[in-house]
């Protein structure tokens, strides 16, 4: 039996600590790497599964396929091109579970990059974990007015979908033009879901409408999971508002549409929240989907978007949603290009490249400002089977709104 003195042990610990630090700072050897390991936790079950399954997961799958089909990610410093290898967890729509999965991805699986989960709350909740382990967080499905502050606090976090104010103000500006053109009257009716996003938007919209001189004839919220909108719409129908705006979630968005048809409530502007841009909306609303307005939009004339829709439909069996899907895919393109420009798995360098570089994406050339994306479609409208963008925070809108919306036709 060998006995080691205390000094020997201490020396040993010291030496191995130095060795470990030295090894860590060395670039990984090319022959050690078989793949770029990407991990994510996404809501495959639970309340967020429907949203994540439409906007986030399909884009992750499509991006991995697109990159791997093209031979993988080029790491010029290591002189290799490596495919992406994915580690995926189900966060069961629980923020705690998301956080736990991210910690696991960082400490146990030791993945190279972590993709964010779906939704505003979960992305805010997992911000500290991304920050703690030094991973860039490209939050593509979080809408928050807190983005400027959180981007300051977590330097490697990027907020790509704007805040409630951006969407509400864009809508109001668009309606002011319609009112000045004499197409709609001064009366507006608003309903909003009493949950994160609905609260954010109505909080921003109510003062914006008032400041613009609109008269709010109805402005009330309804609880999450409300399924019957007959009492609300029956009342609003008699108030003479030409503009109806619902800051709603799916499936409310769909139920409100169906109830408006039943109640024969035909405002000149019919605007709905999350879900309007989903590919399922035209199937649910039938011929009545045309000229309904909502959050988001795409540039229907962009060949990149057209090609993206085609690839997405081929792989997933369904078109992407016309709002956050393209932003999500673009965020992955940004990550990909940032890694290739750095040429190595250096998360600090990649994060700084994301915040300063300019990137070619399906949304055109994108450059972040203060870790946020400003080039966003905010108001869209179904025109000829496409949910086209009417308003853009940084550019002029591509399409003119069609007002008034024609009357509903009974299915």
């Amino acid at each position: 039996m060998t006995t080691y003195g205390r000094r020997t042990i201490l020396r040993g610990i010291g030496a191995s600590a130095i060795a470990a630090t030295a090894l860590r700072s060395l670039p990984a050897f090319a022959q050690d790497r078989k793949a770029v390991r990407i991990g994510y936790a996404i809501s495959k079950t639970g309340a967020n599964a429907a949203g994540a399954g439409i906007t986030t997961t399909p884009n992750y799958l499509l991006w991995v396929k697109d990159v791997n089909d093209a031979g993988g990610i080029k790491l010029s410093k290591l002189g290799v091109q490596l495919p992406i290898e994915v580690t995926e967890y189900d966060d069961r729509s629980s923020a705690e579970e998301t956080v736990r999965a991210i910690e696991r991805l960082a400490t146990q699986d030791k993945v190279d990059f972590i993709l964010p989960t779906w939704g505003t709350g979960p992305n805010l909740a997992s911000g500290p974990s991304f920050d703690k382990f030094g991973y860039p967080q490209l939050a593509a499905t979080a809408v928050t007015d807190m983005a400027p502050q959180v981007a300051q606090r977590w330097k490697k976090s990027f907020w790509l979908l704007g805040g409630g104010h951006d969407y509400a103000n864009a809508l109001v500006q668009l309606l002011v033009k319609q009112r000045d053109a004499g197409k709609i009257n001064n009366k507006v009716a608003i309903i909003s879901v009493a949950d994160g996003f609905g609260i954010d938007l109505s909080k921003a919209a109510t003062p914006a409408f008032k400041d613009a001189g609109f008269e709010l004839v109805y402005d009330k919220s309804y609880p999450l999971d409300t399924s019957d909108f007959a009492p609300l719409l029956n009342e609003i129908a008699g108030l003479g508002a030409d503009t109806f705006a619902a800051f709603s979630y799916p499936p409310d968005t769909f139920a409100i549409t169906q109830q408006a048809v039943v109640a024969n409530f035909n405002p000149k502007v019919f605007y709905l929240g999350v879900g309007t841009a989903f590919p399922v909306y035209p199937k649910i609303a039938g011929p009545n989907h045309n000229n309904v307005m909502g959050i988001g939009g795409i540039d229907p004339d962009s060949p990149d978007i057209e090609a993206y829709f085609k690839r997405h439909t081929e792989l997933i069996g369904e078109a992407p949603d016309s709002w956050a899907s393209a932003v999500t895919y673009s965020s992955l393109q940004i990550l990909h290009q940032a890694i290739e420009r750095v040429g190595d798995i250096d998360r600090d360098a990649v994060a700084s490249e994301i915040s300063t570089g300019e990137f070619d994406t399906i949304l055109g050339k994108l450059k972040l400002k203060d870790n946020q994306l400003w080039s966003l479609w905010t108001v869209g409208q179904w025109q000829d089977g496409k949910f086209v963008g009417l308003s853009h925070t940084e550019r002029e809108g591509a399409r003119e709104p069609i007002v008034p919306k024609p009357n509903w036709t009974a299915a």
Binding site: A49, G53, T226, A230, P231, L232, N234, P251, Q258
Partner: protein, 290 residues
């Protein structure tokens, strides 16, 4: 205005009653607190969706296939999974706890299968989404149909339970499962049958709901919660109770949304629930606690 709100409320209440009647049988008679109940509803809704889209089958005809399927599947679930729990549990409390845990697992099995087969997206088809005018109030035809079916199913079951011999046996098990064997009732068999019947009712509710609500594979829990509130309000195991409690909730929610504030509908629901629990702890139509 009041009349229109009442009619709208009754139609909404019909939905609540419809989804609660099966749970009241399962919980009241078989003593199974079925947390997978809402997922059975969703599974039936998917069934109707598939029949409608692939076979072009009218959901009313779909009922003829899906309701018996719901009965058979629930029968099997009880026989394979819940009967062993019921046999080994000495008292009701133990069975309730065991069944909560077991059906909680079942919830994820059903949800998981639905997610694999149909994905997590929203499903919907349009059936009878046309307005019909009743006393000057435009109501969605599919919701009126749901109301009519709720009354029909509820009334029919009530007659079966009160006028037939096996209905008497079911009620006997619901009231006094300990004493029922003394008069020659096979409690096991009755419980299994009641659970299966509850499953058939859940399936009927799912098919009817799919005609007018957008649903997704993960939406079951909302229905379980609502059904539970209605069941406890109406008196556990009581079909007319579930019917009445459902209608009351629908009317109150609509009145509150129309005349006070739509944001308070949920609060109103739970206020009534609380009031009923305080004033009549065993539910509106429940017997006094024994």
């Amino acid at each position: 205005m009041l009349l229109s709100a009442l009619l709208t409320g009754l139609v909404l209440g019909g939905t609540y009653a419809l989804i609660a009647m099966g749970l009241t049988l399962q919980y009241g008679v078989a003593r199974i607190m079925n947390l997978a109940y809402g997922d059975v509803i969703i599974a039936a809704a998917f069934g109707a969706f598939v029949l409608f889209n692939l076979a072009g089958l009218n959901p009313l005809l779909g009922l003829l296939i899906i309701v018996p399927a719901g009965f058979v599947l629930s029968y099997l679930i009880y026989a394979l999974m819940l009967q062993p729990l019921a046999r080994r549990s000495g008292d009701r409390g133990r069975l309730e706890v065991d069944s909560i845990l077991a059906t909680f697992g079942l919830l994820f099995v059903i949800q998981g299968i639905a997610l694999v087969v149909f994905g997590s997206g929203f499903m919907s088809y349009s059936f009878l989404a046309v307005p019909i005018n009743i006393l000057g109030t435009p109501l969605a035809a599919n919701r009126v149909l749901a109301f009519a079916l709720a009354v029909l199913l509820g009334g029919g079951l009530y007659l079966l339970l009160t006028r037939t011999r096996w209905g008497t046996a079911i009620r006997a098990v619901a009231v006094a499962p300990g004493s029922a064997p003394l008069v020659g009732i096979d409690v096991d068999r009755v419980a299994r049958f009641a659970f299966a019947l509850g499953g058939a009712l859940a399936a009927a509710g799912g098919v009817i709901i799919s005609m007018y609500l957008t649903f997704s594979a993960t939406a079951g829990v909302v229905f379980t919660m609502k059904a539970l509130v209605v069941v406890i309000m109406g008196g556990v195991g009581n079909i007319p109770g579930a019917l009445a409690a459902g209608l009351i909730l629908g009317v109150v929610e609509t009145l509150v949304a129309s005349f006070i504030d739509p944001g308070l509908t949920l609060a109103a629901t739970y206020l009534i629930f609380l009031a009923v629990l305080v004033l009549r702890p065993s539910g509106l139509f429940g017997r006094n606690a024994s």
